[in-house]
């Protein structure tokens, strides 16, 4: 399992980078370079558009950390997390992830910055952030677009899978990188 997951990680990107243009050029006669440039133009705007979100959230989160408020919040749950062998620093991420994409991205970045990308906390945070979407955002946008007001069990299912995904990410990382 360990070997499979690490070699999957190592080969996935090069495999995709070779396969996509090769297939497009040989099978579909797509002008690959020009198409690449055309699509790549969107990337700039996408990255720039996140600046206000990220600045707003990172200001709030670094204040929260520097004031000692984060430590105060974590001290309440630390005994339980220590008992389970989970670094308690990732807990706020589990709370933020379903609620705000920008907030959890900012928090993940903050953890990576503080503890290093190759620390266990950095790896767990990356996995949590990458493995699920912002439930509240998806629900609001998708149901909002068609005027659904009674959402029935949709929110419960979304939040349930977020909780499962949160702990799955932690234990998979502890197992693989531990």
């Amino acid at each position: 399992m360990y070997n499979f997951l690490t070699s999957l990680s190592a080969w996935m990107i090069p495999a995709i980078i070779v396969f996509i243009p090769l297939y497009a050029a040989l099978r579909r006669k797509v002008p690959v370079y020009e198409t690449f440039v055309e699509g790549a133009k969107d990337g700039f705007g996408t990255a720039i558009n996140i600046i206000p979100h990220l600045v707003g959230m990172m200001v709030a989160i670094s204040m929260f950390r520097a004031s000692g408020a984060l430590e105060l919040m974590l001290s309440a749950v630390r005994p339980f997390f220590d008992w389970a062998g989970i670094p308690s620093e990732v807990l706020p991420l589990g709370i933020l992830r379903p609620l705000t994409g920008a907030g959890s991205l900012a928090f993940t970045t903050d953890l990576i910055q503080t503890f290093g990308p190759d620390s266990m906390i950095g790896r767990i945070a990356s996995t949590i952030q990458g493995s699920t979407d912002t439930t509240l955002y998806v629900l609001t946008v998708y149901f909002g677009a068609i005027g659904i007001r009674r959402t029935r069990y949709a929110l419960k299912v979304g939040l349930f899978s977020d909780i499962v995904g949160f702990f799955a990410a932690i234990f998979i990382c502890l197992y693989i990188f531990g």
Partner: protein, 220 residues
């Protein structure tokens, strides 16, 4: 919701800072945070530009449609109450394959199209149908093959192997999606066709959240 979280962070920070006597550190942290926000976004430019270029090639080569066709049997199984050749099925397949490719920005419009088609099958347009709930469940736990944003951030902070989290992310997202599908199936069976009124607060403030940066790869 997001507004309250943000306010809570800031107010709690200042209150705790007063108690701890750390006002200077908090002021400095505010400006440091703003700086990192910009630095991180700039770090994202390179990988976003590269990846969206790649994905445009995949799109033009028809790879998205190919993947969608592969997903067909699974989609029909997950949405038993949608007629086989209803247009909704096509949009659902495109939405899911865009998610798989990590194309959050392409997934959202397809998902909304799918919802609009499902709405045509809905007897009560203010209440979600089971099919809508299933589509939502699949999107909230969206399976992503390559978490582009995270790899970019890890590169930014000098990771020795920025892509090493692909395997763990895939495994975790698989578990989360399975949980979502099972929970959805369970609720489908449990809830009679009678309409249950849930807490109305989730669907109110669309504008506030549509500006939010979305999930792993969804960047508005």
């Amino acid at each position: 919701m997001v507004n309250w979280i943000w306010l809570f962070f800031i107010v709690a920070s200042v209150v705790v800072a007063v108690v701890n006597g750390k006002m200077d550190a908090v002021t400095q942290a505010a400006f440091e945070g703003a700086k990192s926000g910009v630095t991180v976004s700039f770090g994202l430019i390179s990988i976003m530009v590269f990846w969206l270029g790649m994905m445009r090639i995949a799109e033009d080569a028809g790879l998205l449609q190919k993947l969608a066709r592969l997903l067909g049997p699974a989609v029909r199984m997950l949405f038993p109450d949608v007629p086989r050749n209803h247009p909704a099925i096509g949009y659902i397949m495109s939405n899911l394959s865009a998610n798989l490719f990590g194309l959050g920005n392409a997934a959202t419009p397809m998902g909304i199209k799918a919802m609009q088609e499902l709405q045509k099958l809905n007897p009560d347009s203010a209440t979600a149908t089971p099919a809508m709930c299933t589509l939502l469940a699949l999107n909230t736990s969206s399976i992503t093959i390559i978490p582009t944003t995270l790899i970019a951030i890890r590169m930014n902070y000098g990771s020795a192997n920025p892509a090493e989290i692909i395997g763990t992310t895939l495994a975790a997202t698989f578990v989360a999606t399975s949980a979502a599908i099972l929970a959805d199936k369970w609720y489908r069976r449990k809830s009679p066709p009678t309409l249950i009124r849930t807490n109305g607060s989730q669907s109110t403030d669309i504008k506030a959240h549509s500006a939010d940066v979305g999930g792993g790869e969804r960047v508005v």
